[in-house]
Subunit: 417 residues, 2 copies
């Protein structure tokens, strides 16, 4: 076996695999249509996205002091998108222009129907309430994960414009002007480490600066897709005008305490594209092996080596040889126990049509299933089952009563690396 170099084909490989195994849904998948947010996620994609958001939440909310989550409306009261012309001096300009190479037209803005394009405004809008809750103490952050919308100009049909959707995971960090640049460096390093944590090839995630026309420095975290580098997260600084422009009237209620000083904070804003990150991890996970078959025929085997913390299915449970009805009962009990421990199980044993074993393994490898348990007549006699690993393709013999502990340990070890 040898691994294929990332060539021109891999871009088709990954999208074809995502379509075949229902990570993504819909017709005519291209890198642009996927990153442009024009596809729904199928069962495996939805589960993997959920795992990715959980990891983000754990790292950014649960394990942090002074980060408050909010859940804001897609259309905030009293806010509408800018009229055509120069958009306000926020990061979304850079984001928008990168997507469009132009400012949105009147028609595009109408189509957007005042839907939010990012999560920055929500955080700025609700800053006073959150500040109050923390007794006005700086620094702190407001975080949100939610659907955002952006206009897409269709190249094939320039007269219609569509709306793309993406899930953004955003942290807006408020700190004193003096410490703002340090915080920016801190967060950029943290975020890059986080992205790399779940990667097979961490070096494909990199950070770089992206100078703006206005001289505003935006940092990008990029992934090296088979078709080139694409940003999956942006990070930038805004001064205190971000808050004063949003909140008119007296500014005393915007002041936060940093030590003994009281001032309007500056802002470090970072925003990830969750579906973009998902596609990055899928590309990162794909390995295509070539086997030299005896008669000179080449066989290609695709495996999605998704990190255990993100994998949509941890264990598939299937039937080996033996009395199907009895074996199904064993499988059912096993699955119930594992689900009780929060382990995602694929109930292959419910299938009534017979599939050859090798075909099953091929399917599960393409689904990124970490382990496959085969329950057979041996299990009925001695309690032993075959456990096949996605990453090593080795089959081990494990006792039914030990399986749950084995999987829990395997996942805990992977999460710690």
């Amino acid at each position: 076996c040898r691994r294929l170099a990332t060539g021109g084909r891999t871009s088709d490989d990954i999208l074809e695999l995502c379509r075949r195994r229902c990570f993504l849904l819909g017709e005519k998948m291209t890198p642009a249509s996927v990153l442009g947010g024009r596809h729904s996620l199928g069962p495996l994609g939805a589960q993997m996205k959920r795992n990715l958001i959980k990891e983000w939440w754990d790292a950014m909310v649960l394990h942090r002091e002074q980060v408050l989550p909010i859940d804001s409306l897609c259309r905030l009261p009293g806010m509408s998108n800018p009229s055509p012309g120069p958009p306000p001096k926020t990061l979304s300009k850079a984001c928008l222009e990168r997507l469009q190479n132009q400012s949105p037209t009147q028609e595009e803005l109408e189509k957007m129907a005042d839907l939010r394009q990012d999560l920055l405004n929500g955080a700025l809008y609700y800053y006073p309430s959150c500040l109050e809750l923390l007794n006005r103490k700086l620094p702190f952050g407001i975080t949100e994960v939610g659907r955002c919308f952006h206009p897409i100009s269709d190249n094939e049909d320039p007269d219609t414009c569509r709306v793309g959707e993406r899930t953004a995971a955003s942290l807006v960090w408020f700190s004193s002007a003096k410490t703002c640049a340090q915080w920016r460096d801190y967060w950029l390093r943290q975020r890059l480490l986080w992205w790399r944590k779940f990667a097979q090839v961490p070096s494909r995630f990199s950070s770089g600066d992206h100078p703006d026309e206005d001289g505003m420095k935006t940092s990008l975290i990029q992934y090296d897709f088979p078709w080139g580098k694409e940003p999956i997260e942006r990070l930038g600084i805004l001064d205190d005008s971000a808050l004063t422009q949003m909140h008119h009237g007296p500014i005393a209620h915007l002041h936060g305490r940093d030590g003994r000083k009281s001032a309007i904070p500056h802002v470090v804003w970072m925003s990830s594209d969750v579906e973009g990150g998902l596609l990055a991890y899928l590309c990162d996970a794909l390995q295509v092996m070539k086997n030299a078959a005896p008669r000179g025929k080449e066989q290609r085997r695709a495996v999605l080596k998704i990190h255990p913390s993100l994998a949509p299915v941890i264990l598939a449970v299937d039937l080996g040889k033996g009395p199907a009805a009895d074996l199904r009962l064993v499988c059912q009990g096993l699955c119930t126990e594992l689900r009780g421990r929060g382990i995602a199980v694929w109930p292959g044993y419910l299938e009534t049509l017979h599939t050859p074993m090798e075909q099953l393994f091929t399917r599960y490898d393409e689904m990124g299933v970490l382990f496959t348990a085969l329950v057979s007549d041996v299990t009925l006699e001695s309690g032993l089952l075959q456990l096949r690993s996605r990453d090593t393709t080795i089959k081990e013999t494990v006792h039914v009563s030990k399986l749950s502990a084995f999987l829990t340990q395997h996942m805990a070890a992977a999460a710690k690396l």
Copy 2:
């Protein structure tokens, strides 16, 4: 102490509390504006919503066989809202009419900009892909949690119409025509049990039938709010026309296998209003006590007795008497350990302004914080801290090393009830 009867005031009580403690954000809160989806969620509301969705997901996806999650676009390709006139014969008609007592006008539909009003269409649209993934085996379900939009006619200003937003948690269950009614009864019972599981007063959640004009039977799960009963979940049956109307052309790819028969399935559809459920649990949790004070003054104490599985904060950690700098280090270590076990902690010890103890407890009771740990100079000497319970108001002495196990056990016990 005695508990107040649910009177006319409690409706103001709960909304005032939600505003004061940032469960909900925004101005002019009324039952209608909250249930109509015109408020964002603040830090405590967002965390509690996340917990509620996790419980829903565990019950409906993780612990079930044959339920597939998807994550669909808010605007599906090739779909737009109906033109004014009779809407199609789906449940959303009943939902819409209940909200509006009228069909949406042209202007309202334009405002909606083709945004989805429910999650049914997404599930029907992607049914063929999911069926394929399960080897065409019935019954199975497609589930999704996502933002939906609905037009609101403003009573104060009839010329403007706004868009309300709500998060729906939907399960679309496909089964053979013969078993459909049984499944409907099964799911209605399951859902009612689920809602009651986290309630202080389970009987306030009830189910009832809601006959439609067209003779279509819709079941509702309602909560008895202080201002009257409101539906928080709807459940109904659709026949095979649901799928054939959505997918034109040959119908062979819609056929699923049920035992030896092959047919187009009927549909049981249930959809919860997540924010409505959140408000129901907040109303359910609120207890207002009156203390007869010595000089005849009455004191009112509000406690949010939120179920441990849903509570946004499990433990607040604060400073008692002693050297603040040393105590903060102890607090920090304690919080890190607890967060590592997935326990949500409120870092009260970071506060540099002194707050009297009783005032702290009042604040935490209103936030629904389950326990408060007080770290003091005694802790430095002997490792013992004071642990104050929200529900009993009793202070226990617990050793630092035992706290994490105590909380984990307490939550596991509550989850099992």
